[in-house]
Amino acid sequence: MKSVIEYFKGIYNGIKSLLVGMSVTGGYFIKPGTTLTQQYPDNRDTLVMFERFKGEVVMPHNEKNEHKCTGCGICEINCPNGTIEVISATEVTEEGKKKRIIDKHIYHLGMCTFCGLCVKTCPSQALAFSQEFEHAVFDRTKLTKVLNQPGSKLMKGVE
């Protein structure tokens, strides 16, 4: 007798648990406001990334086309993957002193793991992360970028 009760109790509890599960999915079905889909390419204009989002490494320039990079190469040393190459040149200042400046600050986006060490260790805060995340290109060589803009100069007061 006991086993018969157990048998029907099992059926009852089983059906009940199934209905509880169905109430969850059914509940969402009749509440269309709960959809979370972001229609990505359509919402590009309104899509705001978090300010700290590590999209890619950039070198901010001001309106006079000046940057803060002194060409010290600390970012290059700190990068674990060899993503950054600093090609420096020497420039003779007005006082006649020789000074090291950057010729090219090369950034291989394809090798970058976004650890953030270059940005963190830069002594003059010359590097930053941008929120750009659409990096797909058809040609791998396009992922190698020169961060300093052509004709740019070192900002005054940055040593």
Partner: protein, 362 residues
Amino acid sequence: MEFSIYDFSSFTAWIDQSLRASMSPGLAVAIEMLIIGVVILIFYAIVGLFLVYAERKVCALMQNRLGPNRVGPGGIFQTIADLVKLLFVELVPIKNADKILFSLAPYIVIIASFMAMGALPFAKGLHAIDLNIGVFYLMAVSSMGVVGVLLAGWASNNKYSLIGAMRSGAQIVSYELSVGMSLVTIVVLAGTMQLSEIVQAQQYGWFIFRGHIPALIAFVIFIVASTAETNRGPFDLAEAESELTAGFHTEYSGIRFAFFFLAEYINMFIVAAIATTVFFGGWMPFNVYGWEGFNKVMNLIPPFIWFLGKTGALIFLIMWFKWTFPRLRIDQLLTLEWKYFLPINIINVLIMALIVLLGWHW
């Protein structure tokens, strides 16, 4: 000839007579079969495509998603785009596969579902053939699809496919019993196997109401067992994506895969249509004996709308199952059938017979 959307019997009779008047009877029958074939084929395609779309939308909404929304307004042409894509996909030849059986399998699955479609009464007088053993015929035909599944699994020369096919075989052999027994419960109540008469008998009260608790139990068992028979989740062991990658149709590509895919949805439609016909009065409007005004309003809605509406509701129920429950294991699946459904079903038939004998139903 008068045409009414409430009664198609005069319309079909008129077609029959005018064809027979203008040609020999043999040719007339041939042309009638052709017309029916084409009509069902078109209906088949439309229902299949619509159900694929509906399923994707239903599951999307249950999962807090939007579902297809790119092709056409609300994505309604998405399935057509998918079908066109599948038509152009290469049919990948399988090494060491049994070529004939491999290409035959999808057609068997399709034909089985096609044949079942012919016997369904969509509205008054709107059915291809009204067999006097309609229920029996539907059961027989709808279980033929498993042959296709078994062939597909065997012929693919793929280990996953074979396991899936064997699972499917075991599953359908057992669940066919439940489907049959639950239909027998209603046949006992109706006293006939002819689908048109079963529908006619439900004018003032669908069988699910008239048959009291036994009919309700029979319905629950039928809907669960037929979900299992159509290889849909939570009984999709033959496909079992997380275990067998795609089960019996792992090796199929292109239009052959599309056939399996469409057949799954059509089978779902057929199962729901049988349940509608047998338990929910088929195309009969919802009438209550004595409520004249209410019945008139209900009768205004055309029968095929009633039929499709009820079928749609049941299809939604089956989809709801799939998108809620985890999959059963093969031994649990068989336990469920042999330890729960079969004994309950047998007792259920007996109770129903008792009720009919004592005249307790109304």
